[in-house]
């Protein structure tokens, strides 16, 4: 009897525990999207400082040690999408995201203690950004079921997504639009969901608008499609070769 009760309580708590671990960063940021003074892309003073420094690849690889525990040595994260794949991400995007987490614009309690001012210096952010931009991995990323790829492609290309993130999912380095090709399915799905609900603190208002009318299914289909794209660097090289 005791065992049955214990089992019941455990089972009842399970979904809650899973949800609470996952939703820890799904909170509205007081300085971010939806707040009165939020302007997408407004440079924080620290971001300006980091952008002004020139990064060094070897130093960046060493500084990235403090991040490897989650993002792994090849920066490819964890395939279930708990930790994103950062391999090949634009330096401008890395700098924007890290400084905006530090500035409290994007809320990320899992990462915060390891990316805070006491843990890495502005110079190290610049160094890490250079390292990530050129990082390579041999690991496959986490992919969706593959059932709705065609639908995902159509939604991605006919909606407004492609305008900013590109036909190869390559993003735009000069605007700090992230590369999203070959990202983990689970991560793509989660972030799209956060953006739709206005709880990703540094969302672009146009992105929130663009994704607003998509259903849960639509989002899954697009995440599936994007997760099955090759690394954008490979796509761009192939296009050049043609």
């Amino acid at each position: 009897m005791k065992n049955t009760v214990a089992l019941f309580v455990t089972l009842a708590l399970l979904p809650w525990q899973a949800a609470s671990a996952d939703m820890a960063d799904a909170v509205k940021s007081p300085k971010g999207y939806g707040s009165k003074d939020y302007v997408w892309g407004k440079l924080l003073p620290e971001q300006v400082e980091v952008l002004r420094r020139s990064g060094d690849l070897a130093r960046g690889k060493e500084a990235f040690r403090g991040c490897r525990g989650c993002h792994k040595a090849d920066a490819a994260g964890v395939t279930d999408g708990t930790y994103p794949r950062l391999t090949g991400q634009h330096a401008s995007v890395v700098i924007k995201q890290v400084t905006e987490v530090r500035g409290g614009v994007r809320i990320n309690p899992k990462m915060e203690p390891f990316s805070a001012e006491h843990a890495i210096s502005p110079q190290e952010i610049a160094d890490i950004a250079v390292f990530l931009e050129s990082a390579e991995t041999t690991r496959e990323n986490g992919k969706g079921e593959g059932d709705f790829v065609a639908r995902g492609k159509k939604l991605y290309e006919q909606g407004k997504c492609m305008k900013c993130h590109g036909i190869n999912g390559e993003g735009k380095a000069e605007k700090a639009y992230p590369a999203i090709a070959a990202q983990h399915y689970g991560y793509l799905k989660r972030e799209m969901d956060y953006i739709q609900r206005g709880v990703r603190g540094n969302s672009h208002p146009d992105m929130v608008k663009a994704i607003r009318h998509y259903s849960h299914r639509d989002i899954e289909a697009m995440a599936d499609y994007l997760s099955r794209m090759p690394d954008y660097r490979q796509s761009l090289a192939e296009r050049k070769g043609q």
């Binding site: 040690r65 991040c67 490897r68 279930d80």
Partner: protein, 213 residues
């Protein structure tokens, strides 16, 4: 001697025991006064062994630790920034001018890994060490301390460290008793772990060999 110290610690008279043992070993250095390295080492050796591979699991191995890390720990014991009932009884006797030579000496001693370990717990610990705990956002220890526990100048060597000491330090980081980690990252790591996970990972750490020359 070791046995006596061990019993005294157990009975709670830690600081006193440390002080008395220090006085016995080195009657002239009750107050910080620089003495030659060889003389000072006798004091440290009582607990950390002459080659820095201590025989008492609560006393950490010092062999192969980064010299700057050792110096920083000694300063932190001295200032009270790192609390330890035992070391706080010892450190007043040591002059800060001696720290560099002591650190240099212990960092050059050859580690002697291969302590006893519970194989079943160590297997669970290995998973945590290499992969972290995804559900509770515990980063993999290997990310910072290296796969083999050899560490770097920023992240201390932990390979082959006594599991009792590792457990005690992780619990200390977790409850904030040890709060001298410069980057505060060890506190962030340990806070996300429960005691069972801490014990498991410590059983794995003791089996690590570190970089072999």
């Amino acid at each position: 001697m070791r046995l006596i110290l061990h019993r005294m610690r157990r009975s709670g008279q830690i600081a006193l025991a440390a002080l008395i043992s220090g006085l016995l070993l080195c009657p002239a250095c009750a107050l910080a006064q620089a003495v030659p390295l060889q003389e000072r080492l006798q004091l440290c050796a009582a607990c950390h062994s002459p080659d820095g591979n201590s025989l008492i699991p609560e006393n950490p191995n010092l062999s192969g630790l980064d010299p700057d890390y050792i110096v920083r720990q000694l300063h932190d014991f001295k200032s009270g920034n790192r609390k330890s009932a035992v070391m706080s009884g010892i450190i007043p006797m040591v002059d800060e001018k001696e720290f560099a030579a002591l650190a240099e000496f212990f960092s050059r001693q050859k580690p002697n890994p291969g302590g006893k370990s519970d194989a079943k717990l160590a297997a669970q610990g290995r998973e945590i060490y290499d992969e972290g705990i995804v559900g509770s956002a515990v980063p993999a220890c290997s990310g910072c301390h290296n796969d083999d526990g050899s560490g770097t100048d920023k992240y201390p060597r932990i390979a082959g460290q006594h599991s009792a000491y590792v457990v005690q330090q992780l619990l200390g980081f977790k409850n904030g008793e040890r709060a001298n980690d410069v980057k505060a990252v060890m506190r962030a790591v340990a806070k996300r772990m429960n005691e069972k996970e801490i014990r498991a990972v410590a059983e794995y750490v003791v089996t690590l060999k570190g970089a072999q020359e």
